[in-house]
């Protein structure tokens, strides 16, 4: 108690304490380096190790894919080792020559403008919905979920009535198919997943039983099995004449599969919302569906947005599995092209796969970045 005796037990402030601005952050770029990279012996060791790894790994990759790469040529000769080029890098010439095949598959060359038009219509719809402060987003949703699907079927499948030749789906391929499968999967799985998640919480036993059975069954089966069942087993029950198109069957399989996962993710979001929110809305006289749509879902989806995007990204990559039921997606197009003897070089396969990796990465990273922006925007509205 001796130390305490120095400070008075009773205190009365005579003058108010001054308001001060916070102390300035220390020392510029050098200070930042010291604080973040070289703050302790362990940290210094880690920084050096990482630096060494980057120095070891990055230059060869850059050399192979950019500096020594072959950018043009009409056959394998361009990409083979020669006296002028003892160690050729990636064979981008191969990708250039096969590029339109990667995008359109076997879609007839004269009709490919229809695919381009579809891509543009889709990009327009996605941009309308993705731009959060876009005008008339309600109309945008109608365009995306009603107009766009009809337009796409007429455009891609053809309609002799309006003078578009029919192009059977067996000729569709490449990025076209990947984009269709991913878009349909994403656009169907979110609403269907929300309905299933609500069904699982329903007070009506039949609804709950159906939702639980569907979710658990579909989740408990690998996607490949779902695809096989959709494409091989369906014709056993339905005469071939009436059986839906092969691509359509795969689309349904992918969409149902993603919906089951989405349902569980949405349920997680719903669980995070306190029941009092539901009660407050009910006490105001809001009917059930309005309560869900206006109060519960906006909050639940916000909480679980990172998980939703996670499913979108996984789904986008899972679309490559449709090749097991004979559908010609982007990765499968690359598989087919790299077997072309005209382009058989040691680097053809690596380049093809690198191109595929680049495509998937750009798409998935784009989704991820967009989701981060939406999160930041929603969080801004919430915090002080």
């Amino acid at each position: 108690m001796a130390a305490l005796s120095d400070s008075p037990l009773v205190f009365l402030r005579q003058a108010p304490a001054q308001r001060l601005s916070p102390p300035a952050p220390r020392g510029g770029a050098f200070g930042w380096l010291r604080a973040n990279l070289f703050s302790s012996p362990g940290n210094i060791a880690l920084t050096l190790l990482c630096g060494l790894f980057v120095a070891w790994a990055v230059p060869p990759v850059l050399r192979f894919f950019l500096i020594d790469a072959v950018w043009s040529g009409s056959d394998r000769a361009a990409c083979l080792a020669s006296p002028q080029m003892p160690r050729p890098g990636a064979c981008w010439a191969f990708v250039r020559v096969w590029f339109s095949y990667f995008v359109y598959g076997f879609y007839p060359i004269g009709q490919r403008w229809r695919v381009d038009l579809f891509f543009m219509a889709l990009a327009f719809g996605v941009a309308w919905l993705a731009w959060l402060s876009a005008p008339r987003r309600g109309t945008g949703a109608v365009y995306f979920f009603v107009v766009l699907p009809i337009l796409s079927i007429i455009l891609l499948n053809g309609a002799p009535l309006v003078g578009l030749v029919r192009v059977p789906t067996s000729l569709w391929g490449g990025i076209l198919v990947t984009v269709i499968v991913a878009t349909v999967g994403i656009a169907v799985s979110l609403p269907l997943g929300i309905i299933l998640a609500l069904g699982r919480r329903s007070k009506i036993p039949v609804v709950r039983l159906f939702a639980v059975t569907f979710i658990e069954f579909v989740r408990g089966v690998p996607l490949i099995t779902v695809l096989f069942m959709a494409s091989v087993m369906l014709p056993l029950f339905v005469p071939e004449r009436f059986a839906p198109d092969k691509l359509l069957r795969a689309l349904i399989g992918v969409a149902l599969f993603a919906s089951a996962y989405m349902a569980e993710v949405v349920r997680g979001g719903l669980l995070a919302i306190p029941p009092a929110q539901f009660e407050a809305a009910q006490a105001l006289g809001l009917p059930y569906w309005r309560t869900i749509a206006l109060v519960i879902l906006p909050q639940a989806l916000r909480v679980t947005l990172p998980n939703i995007v996670n499913i979108f990204i996984a789904l986008f990559k899972d679309t490559t599995l449709v090749f097991v039921v004979g559908i010609f997606d982007f990765l499968h197009a690359i598989e087919a092209a790299r077997a072309d003897p005209k382009w058989a070089t040691p680097n053809t396969s690596v380049t093809g796969y690198a191109f595929a990796a680049l495509f998937y990465f750009v798409c998935c990273y784009g989704m991820s970045r967009y989701a981060r922006r939406v999160e930041a925007r929603l969080a801004r509205a919430h915090r002080r």
């Binding site: 929110q277 407050a280 009910q282 006490a283 105001l284 809001l286 009917p287 916000r302 509205a381 919430h382």
Partner: protein, 258 residues
Amino acid sequence: MENPSDRTSADAVRSEIAVEIVDLHKWYGEFHALRDINLTVARGERIVICGPSGGGKSTLLRCINRLEDWQRGRVVVDGIELTDDPKQIEAVRRDVGMVFQQFNLFPHLTVLENCTLAPIWVRRMPKKDAEELAMRYLTRVKIPEQAQKYPARLSGGQQQRVAIARALCMNPNIMLFDEPTSALDPEMVKEVLDTMVELASDGITMLVVSHEMGFARQVSDRVIFMAEGQIVEINEPKDFFDSPQHERTRLFLQQVLR
């Protein structure tokens, strides 16, 4: 639906009786949470319900807008009997405003949007009119300048006043308050109580679950004491506080009025 003669008799009842509760019983599993509740609340009456926690005060209040259901008995609010029919329940909830202990504002909506949500989506009011109405009530609870903020940026007292304004925007005939000041810092209790006192002077029917004995004495027409799921004593505030009849009431008042 309803024939004209029903309507006139209902209207006649409406003019006098706001809430009628007859032989109400509720169980949570084996636990008998509400026992033999009989209560008639006249239009314009202000009632404070007090009692020890776990005594069924909030449960009773939540039966009046059917946030809780019950196993036995009748509850008639504004001439509408509460049954399992969602139409009846929604009709009652449109006429009964509720204020919660934890405010329960919608965090994803601004203060103004919190207030206009129900008028727009339940009363089908045009957005502009709803916003005017909301601003009128926000002015009445003295926070019109906070309209564009999100609830998280407001103090507890301000949030509770928004919650009161939100309920008032539905022009309710009856207001239920479930411990409206219990979650507030001491400095903010007064601003909420002042708002409620002002509301009481307007003649709206009020049922308030509260431990604010000063408020009960000042504002209420009757005080109800509840314990162990039963109504133990109902009396006018003066008699209730000065000469409580039941032993249990005396014990409780000794504890809270020390």
